[in-house]
């Protein structure tokens, strides 16, 4: 079995939050309200992966990524990441990205089990440069990184041909 390459989009001027183990409605509501309150432009929510976990009320939890449209300075992104942690939307492990100076969000499939992220919500609120750039990269790379197609082609070539 061959391995795979994971492709991701990295930026130090876009605010991208990784909300792990959250409800879908909770993430969407937060993204909308936060973008409106801080004037962060349009916002897109992507579902990065599904989890088998549920909350106390039986709601299914998932992993999501929020991408905001307005380019910001790294200092302001830092502040927003800290604020999202205070509001309980981001894990403590995500706070570590503040040391690296950039935020990375995966765009291709991680392995056989975890498919590429899917867009689930878009809120139009002015500046959409960041969302468009991320979406462009996602469109280009979501199917790359696996060797599946090449292997299939090879197999089809090796099939014995019928002799008339």
């Amino acid at each position: 079995m061959s391995g795979n390459v994971v492709l991701a989009y990295t930026s130090d001027t876009l605010l991208m939050l990784d909300c792990d183990l959250k409800r879908e409605d909770e993430v969407i509501e937060f993204a909308k309200e936060y973008a409106k309150f801080h004037d962060l432009g349009s916002v897109a929510v992507f579902k990065t992966s599904d989890t088998p976990q549920i909350d106390l009320f039986g709601n299914r939890l998932g992993n999501y990524a929020i991408i905001f449209g307005k380019p910001l300075t790294w200092d302001e992104i830092n502040w927003h990441v800290k604020e999202a942690y205070r509001l309980g939307m981001v894990n403590k492990s995500f706070l570590a990205i503040r040391e690296f100076g950039s935020i990375t969000i995966r765009v291709s499939s991680k392995n056989d089990k975890i498919p590429p992220p899917k867009p689930i919500y878009y809120f139009r609120n002015g500046d959409n440069r960041g969302v468009m750039r991320f979406t462009k990269f996602w469109v280009l790379c979501r199917k790359l990184g696996m060797k599946k197609h090449a292997e299939k082609e090879d197999i089809s070539d090796k099939r014995p041909r019928k002799i008339p």
Partner: protein
Amino acid sequence: MPSVEKVYREKRFKASRNRPQFRKVPIYLQAIRPAIRHREYARFYGLYETMDGKRKRFSFGVKISPKLTNRQLYSLIVITCNNLLDKRVPEHRAGEFFPSFRDLFRTRWIRVRKLLRYQAGVHYER
């Protein structure tokens, strides 16, 4: 006896009331917003087995030039992916950023024994 939905709604209402409120961004941070130049990178990562049989991780980024068209960018990413899938990894430090695809292709590419399926949180040697 109240229905499950009613109890659930009440609990969610209470939770929303107890949620911490949004705070405004400090003014000194807002003032710099208009003069920002956008920077973006394509990042490649995964696991591989070296010729010695050690399990290692590759992780590098390449700066995307704003001059590149979609087609050019796509072809460059496909070339890089194919090189990696053909068991060749560029010589780099973990998490290194290459200033352009030209610099990436100019570096020495090392042959590896096997490319592995990616698993998060796996223990590997650097």
